[in-house]
């Protein structure tokens, strides 16, 4: 499959969304709401449940399955409240020493007037900042779209995994082509150059694991094992490893 096809497929309406993975991976899920500052962002689902025998906090971005749901979920584009809700629940997980599973599927943070006025940039920045020293293990799973800063705000984790047909990119290929050549026609060329597929990102050492379609049935066990093995680290080691993981990106 061409890289641009991967992007287009990840945007399709009939693909599995965050809530499907939630159902398949997590049992006894209890959802929590609100950022405690302004409102509850329905694009972000967060709460607690079990993965196997491990009690975890799960936070993810949900796009919705049909038109009505997609409108309700704002097509999986979070406002600042969504990122602040996510951070609140991450802090809660830290307090109760629960590991965190983050599930990412977003075209990007919502570009709107109200989102800007309530500090979209600050909300994302603050997540990166706080997550860098959050004293509990985190695993981020990119299931479809990993759209720029809006996805990164839920991906500053100890491990970043991607489904084999997901993408993670600094910019959408269309916007990139538009900026470079004032036309979206060559989006397919740009998609290749941006190195946004799981395979290419793994080669660049930017992600830790690719989940192939055949292995998706074992996803739950793989996540449980990974979280349990991360929990064996001392907090100091965990944080040092997390710092180094991002420190070496583009190191000269």
């Amino acid at each position: 499959m061409k890289d641009y096809e991967i992007v287009l497929n990840a945007r399709k309406e009939n693909v599995l969304t965050m809530s499907d993975y939630l159902k398949n991976i997590v049992t006894d899920f209890i959802e929590f709401h609100g950022d405690r500052y302004f409102s509850d962002d329905s694009a972000v689902i967060g709460g607690i449940g079990y993965i196997g025998n491990t009690c975890v906090t799960v936070i993810g971005i949900e796009k919705g399955k049909n038109t009505e749901e997609r409108v309700y979920r704002n097509f999986g584009s979070a406002h600042p409240e969504g990122y602040r809700k996510a951070l609140r629940l991450m802090k809660q997980a830290e307090k109760f020493k629960r590991p965190i599973l983050l599930i990412v599927d977003t075209a990007g943070a919502y570009p709107g007037v109200s989102a800007e006025e309530r500090g979209q940039g600050r909300a994302i920045a603050n997540n990166l900042y706080e997550m860098s020293t959050l004293k509990t293990p985190m695993l981020s799973l990119i299931i479809g779209e990993g759209g720029s800063g809006g996805a990164l705000a839920l991906a500053h984790a100890d491990k970043i995994w991607m489904l084999e047909n997901a993408y993670f990119s600094v910019v959408s290929p269309e916007s990139c082509a538009n900026i470079l050549w004032k036309s979206t026609e060559r989006a397919d060329v740009v998609a290749e150059a941006l190195m946004l597929t799981a395979e290419k990102l793994e080669k660049l050492n930017l992600i830790d694991k690719i989940i192939s379609n055949e292995k998706s049935g074992e996803l739950k066990n793989m996540i449980e094992n990974e979280l349990n093995s991360l929990m064996k680290n001392s907090i100091d080691d965990l944080l040092e490893l997390r710092y180094r993981k991002f420190r070496r990106v583009g190191e000269i």
């Binding site: 940039g121 990166l128 800063g149 941006l194």
Partner: protein, 274 residues
Amino acid sequence: MKFKKFFIKTCNELEGEKNTTRKIACKKCGKKISVSKIRKNYFVCPNCGNYYLVRARRRILMLADKRSFIEHDRELTSKNILSFPEYDEKLEKAKIKSRENEGVICGTCLIGGVKVCIFSMDPYFMMGSMGSVVGEKITRLFEYATKNSLPVLGITVSGGARMQEGMLSLMQMSKVSAAVKRHSDKNNLYINLLTNPTTGGVNASFAMLGDITLSEPHARVGFAGPRVIEKTLNKSLPKGFQRAESVLKCGFIDMIVERKNQKELISKLLIMHS
């Protein structure tokens, strides 16, 4: 091509012009003012108050005590790691236009006698976009500041992450933010000075993480580009949207400081924290 040459020329007009009595027309009000007058007025039009872009090195000269700046990592320069189309040419042009190796200058200096780590982004180097080298230089500066218990002053001007380096650019946001956190956790001061524009991935990381956030008047400060928002909403944006004055009202900036007052204020803040 002719247009591009012309553009480079006008950008350098204020900086490079040797004949300081030469008059140039202000891009905003159109009034012809001599180069020396604009330079003396901190690169602000004395007639209409329009703020000109200031190159990174000039910024440091404007703020640092005389001859106190010691540069770090000057030699670092970007490579086209992803073999991205036209990136090599863009880098070459940016180097000529900005006369710098990269989009940020880092180092230490004294401001009002207080030692501070300073980074200054360059609007003439691909609009201060953040690639691996920009992220690396700023991260190294924060690590140096943490190790030596020094405050950091960051002057931002950026369109965001540099798309020609793909995810390597995006993840610089994580890298720098983590270094800022370590610096902060050791009780060190970080002052941001936002200038026009501070947007995208730079806005969504270290530009919004200062203990004290200052901004130049009328600077664009925001995450998403205004054209993107207009396209999404299909309506025009409110007046003053994403401008420093309205961002301050929304609660994301501590104060707006005119260029001529910046050095005095920053030196006061540094003394109060030393």
